[in-house]
């Protein structure tokens, strides 16, 4: 890829990682790797994000959080699972509180292996995610039209007033980023 045609904003959530992958995600943003020069920004707000970076695997307690963040992200959205934990559970796979990779909860588009995943690999994953994002964006109008058609059909079928609901942002509650006193820069 010679040109980056889109500067995605990313959101990061730590499932149950050991921090190794998290600090590598942050390392991508800092001077050595500096993806910010391409306009890639780490945002705390799911509604601003295009790419969801998840590190660590899922457990009973963080499933709602991961789902909420995912649902709050506007479409098109891409999920990148970072590290072997997020991919499959990795070294902790047999722990009693680990349910497996992130794909057990939300659809994952790109997997970045490694323990810890290296910043180069993470950047590669995000670039790959950009391709997926472009594909998804191209498909989006058709998808939305289909959903609208479906919705109106359902409404007529049920005999109720036709109500075409916008498909995105279904989570009404926020998971708290707005309340921290420092929202985003």
């Amino acid at each position: 890829m010679s040109y980056v045609t889109k500067s995605p904003w990313v959101i990061h959530y730590d499932g149950s990682s050991c921090n190794g992958c998290d600090i590598e995600v942050l390392a991508c943003l800092t001077p050595m790797y500096d993806v910010e020069r391409f306009g890639i920004i780490n945002t705390g707000n799911p509604k601003h994000a295009d790419i969801f970076l998840v590190t660590g695997s899922v457990n009973e307690q963080n499933i709602p959080v991961i789902k909420q963040i995912y649902e709050q992200m506007p479409r098109p959205k891409v999920v990148v699972a970072i590290g072997i934990c997020a991919t499959s559970g990795g070294i902790f796979k047999e722990c009693y509180n680990i349910m497996g990779g992130v794909d057990t909860v939300i659809p994952v588009d790109v997997y970045v292996p490694g323990c810890a995943a290296r910043p180069e690999a993470i950047i590669d994953g995000v670039v790959k995610g950009l391709g997926v994002l472009a594909e998804k964006r191209a498909k989006l109008p058709a998808e939305i039209a289909e959903e609208k058609r479906q919705a109106s059909e359902d409404a007529f079928g049920a005999g109720a007033a036709a109500e075409t609901s916008a498909p995105e942002t279904s989570g009404p509650e926020t998971s708290g980023p707005e309340t921290s006193g420092k929202e985003e820069d």
Binding site: D22, C95, E183
Partner: protein, 359 residues
């Protein structure tokens, strides 16, 4: 009297990369109470001792936390080595000290960056992390990994560092000193930084003792406590004194950590000058039997590693008690009565490592 409101803070929020949840009970802008709830990243890795052989368990324990990964690996090895009465060669002890102190530098720089990010000083954050990369380069060169490097094993270490390598490390550390001094000036002298830190989140000496705080958090309140003083590993042969401050506020905690970075550089330089030739590991034979508690001074404070063996290749029980666990009560204490805008600062200054806490 104003109405009380509860503000949920986290688990996903921009201050920390890790999930922690706090319910902040506020009255106007003042926090009256903070109720932490943890458990978002509990994995239950202690139980893995039943499925992993005691020699393999090192890899799991290293992943208690990716930041002080080496220290955790060492702590576990120390505990099992104590159990099996293994005497580690001197060179290995020195090498362990060098890597452990390098981890401390990297951890503290990471924290300084997050702190700067917390009070909104982005360029300072970037500079701290830039300097930190040179430490990670050392790790990569000497061990092959950047954050998790599995170089510590039972009976010693896996890799040796050549004399040239050691000289290079000393050179790199000497080189970053200048940059660190510049950074220090901003952290400790800058007017706006001081405004955010001085007098914020005071923890008195008696509170620090009563709430069992550990590490830099305790030392910033004047408690002299540093497990390295017991002289384990090669620490007995290095000349150092614990860094303490009296004020107990955020500024003091920042100062303690900055001074510790310089202290660690001095310790590594000493270790490099003294390191003897010799083996880097001894073979491990037999099975662990009996119990042993090892204590380590991690970048965040004292950590405990308890192991009990029953003569089989699986340990009966392994327990890790990590520093953040001990510092959370102090954090809750300092949060009471603070301004809402200072909450990120106060959470950050205990240098929380949630993944350690919950394991």
């Amino acid at each position: 009297m104003s109405k009380r409101t509860i503000i949920p803070f986290g688990p996903q929020h921009p201050v920390l990369p890790e999930p922690v949840h706090l319910d902040l009970v506020i009255e106007d802008e003042r926090v009256v109470e903070a109720i932490p709830s943890i458990g978002y990243i509990h994995r239950g890795l202690e139980k893995l001792v039943e499925k992993r052989e005691y020699t393999e368990m090192v890899y799991v324990i290293e992943r208690v936390c990716g930041i002080c990964s080496f220290g955790h690996g060492w702590g576990y090895c120390k505990s099992v080595e104590g159990n099996m009465e293994i005497v580690v060669p001197e060179r290995a002890e020195y090498l362990r000290c060098i890597w452990h102190e390098l981890s401390r530098i990297h951890s503290h720089l990471l924290w300084l960056g997050l702190l700067a990010d917390g009070f909104g000083f982005e360029s300072l954050f970037m500079h701290s992390w830039r300097i930190r990369e040179s430490i990670l380069d050392i790790f990569e060169k000497t061990t092959g990994g950047r954050v998790i490097f599995s170089v510590c094993k039972l009976g010693g270490v896996r890799k040796d560092i050549s004399a040239e390598g050691l000289a290079e490390i000393a050179g790199i550390l000497e080189g970053i000193k200048g940059e660190l001094t510049e950074l220090t000036e901003v952290f400790l002298e800058d007017y706006s930084v001081k405004n955010r830190l001085v007098g914020v989140g005071k923890l008195s000496y008696s509170d620090a003792v009563e709430l069992c705080t550990v590490g830099p958090m305790a030392r910033a309140s004047g408690v002299v406590q540093d497990i390295r003083l017991d002289g384990h590993g090669a620490y007995g042969k290095l000349d150092f004194a614990p860094v303490t401050e009296e004020a107990g506020d955020c500024y003091a905690r920042c100062k303690v950590r900055i001074r510790e970075v310089f202290q660690s550089i001095a310790m590594i330089t000493q270790a490099i000058a003294q390191i003897p030739e010799g083996d880097i590991a001894v073979p491990v034979k037999g099975m662990p039997q009996g119990e042993f508690v090892a204590r380590m001074e991690q970048p965040r404070g004292e950590a405990y590693y308890y192991s009990i063996g029953n003569g089989s290749k699986f340990l009966q029980r392994m327990r890790v008690r990590t520093p953040t666990n001990m510092n959370i009560p102090a954090m809750v204490k300092t949060l009471q009565g603070c301004d809402l805008a200072d909450v990120p600062m106060l959470i950050l200054t205990i240098d929380p490592c949630i993944s350690c806490t919950e394991r």
